[in-house]
């Protein structure tokens, strides 16, 4: 049977898709906004209650306190993860969709017209210098592990608390996120054309294989590490402000 019908909606958000394509960009919009608001508040304005006993919030690790710096010490650190995540290839794709509708989803019309430069022009071109944030972030990862290990010592006494476990998981998740980085993948082996040409290249290929495996789940690590780092900060603050009692093995654990 033949019958003629007008074509569906064109233009802004026009698509013939019938699935719930808007759910994912919306979740990302809400998730990233929530994290942005919480972390800004925590790092910039809530510059107390960020440490207790052996626990230090990851937003403040390593703790940099200087006379000449009147603001929250977290600001001296946070530009690293902020720059790292903002220039991360996964997050770029995610916020180009969710925040800028460029495009909102696949085969859904966002901005149209030939006036488009993508990431090819300054200042947006700077996003391509992700590798430099990666170097700093790897260093920060080491600091976070130091912080995690330190959280098992309090006044010379080896012990363990819920906070130590939370901080350790945090260091692990952030490490997994950083080790799946595209720029790191390029640095260790991606730039080589021949993997078998020297013993050094063969070793690099082996590391590249691991990074490739983690890289395939980069989105997963990006999200769990993001949520967990905020949670870790929140946990330390709750213990530090006395809202929550940290279960641990130290008898002399400070009471707020």
């Amino acid at each position: 049977m033949e019958q003629n019908i007008a074509v569906g909606k064109q233009g802004w958000l026009g698509t013939a898709r019938r699935d719930t394509w808007w759910v994912e960009p919306l979740l990302i919009l809400v998730g990233l906004s929530a994290f942005g608001i919480y972390s800004t508040y925590s790092a910039v304005f809530w510059d107390y209650h960020f440490e207790i006993g052996p626990y230090l919030s990851p937003f403040y690790e390593p703790l940099l306190v200087f006379d000449w710096w009147p603001f929250s010490p977290a600001i001296l650190i946070l530009w690293i993860p902020l720059g790292f995540r903002t220039t991360c290839y996964y997050y770029r794709g995610a916020y180009w969709r969710s925040f800028f509708a460029n495009p909102p989803a696949c085969a859904v019309t966002g901005w149209e017209g030939k006036n488009y430069a993508g990431e090819a022009k300054f200042p947006i071109f700077v996003l391509n210098f992700h590798r430099y944030f990666m170097y700093a972030a790897l260093l920060l990862n080491v600091m976070l592990w130091v912080g995690a290990v330190r959280s098992y010592w309090w006044q010379g006494e080896l012990g363990i608390g819920l906070g130590s476990i939370i901080l350790t998981i945090n260091a692990f998740l952030l490490m997994m996120y950083s080790l799946g980085c595209h720029s790191l993948r390029h640095l260790v082996g991606g730039k080589l054309d021949c993997f078998s040409c020297s013993s050094c290249a063969r070793t690099r290929k082996r590391i590249w294989d691991y990074i490739t495996r983690w890289n395939e789940h980069h989105k997963f690590w990006a999200w769990v590490s993001l949520i967990w780092v905020a949670f870790t900060d929140f946990y330390v603050r709750m213990v530090s402000s006395g809202v929550f009692n940290d279960p641990n093995t130290w008898s002399n654990f400070p009471r707020p």
């Binding site: 003629n4 019908i5 013939a16 019938r18 696949c106 085969a107 210098f129 720029s183 021949c194």
Partner: protein
């Protein structure tokens, strides 16, 4: 008009020539195991002999039957009816990004012109042509491409931004990646790759999602190429060391 026996489904096909188009609805009796291409060919055989559709292999290997089924870029021969919601009409449109010739057939010749501009495999002098599987794995992923152009179709840089002059599109970054990463290829391609618009891609990954050959276009072709171009032309270290380099 005659109604057929068997399970009835409603199919809407965007028909017409050039910019003059409209959806035409058909009631079709389908059989178990059919793919969308079966339905379209059935309509062509029984109801609309003038329906234009391009296909060759019906095995997801020739890349001819690209279309948009319920708004999603797919190969019609790889889209099973079982996977669609048949209580609603199945909507089949031609791919949007390239000019329509007639009904489901589009003119994808722009792609072949772009392809011609790519310098082919250029082996090193006295290349031994011996290499190991691990050296060629990355290249072989790129060689899986069947040129269905679904990635070109879905990429917003072409689809919505119409950057045909400045952007070769994901399919050709796939080809370029396969050449650039080839252990025996000697051509210097990175300057050209930048001119081909690699930084117009904003890594939103739609190309990867639609690729029927499951090539990880963004992760394994485009991002590695971006990194190489940055290395070559924008690296801080190169810039610092430049005065000391021998060239």
């Amino acid at each position: 008009m005659v109604q057929e026996e068997g399970r009835q489904i409603t199919v809407r096909i965007l028909r017409g020539e050039g910019v003059k188009t409209q959806e035409v609805e058909y009631q079709v009796a389908v059989e178990p195991g059919w793919v969308v291409l079966d339905v379209v060919l059935h309509i062509q055989a029984r109801m609309a002999p003038d329906l234009a559709v391009r296909w060759n292999c019906k095995a997801a290997k020739c890349g001819s039957c690209s279309a948009e089924v319920n708004g999603k870029p797919r190969l019609m021969c790889k889209t099973r009816l079982d996977d669609l919601d048949l209580t609603k009409p199945v909507v089949v449109h031609p791919i949007k990004t390239f000019p329509r010739i007639k009904d489901l057939v589009t003119d994808v010749s722009w792609n072949f012109e772009v392809n011609k501009k790519i310098q082919p495999f250029t082996p090193k002098k006295d290349a031994a042509f011996i290499y190991f599987q691990e050296d060629i794995d990355r290249v072989q992923e790129m060689r899986k491409c069947i040129e269905c152009f679904l990635c070109q179709n879905v990429c917003h840089v072409l689809r919505n931004r119409e950057q045909y002059q400045r952007f070769v599109g994901p399919r050709f970054f796939v080809r370029l990646a396969g050449l650039e990463m080839h252990p025996l290829d000697d051509a210097d391609r990175l300057k050209q790759i930048e001119e081909d618009g690699i930084f117009l891609c904003n890594i939103t990954k739609c190309c990867t999602h639609v690729c029927p050959e499951d090539i990880h276009i963004t992760d394994n072709a485009i991002i590695p190429l971006k990194e190489r171009v940055i290395d070559k032309s924008y690296s801080f270290w190169n810039w610092v060391l430049q005065p000391f380099s021998s060239k």
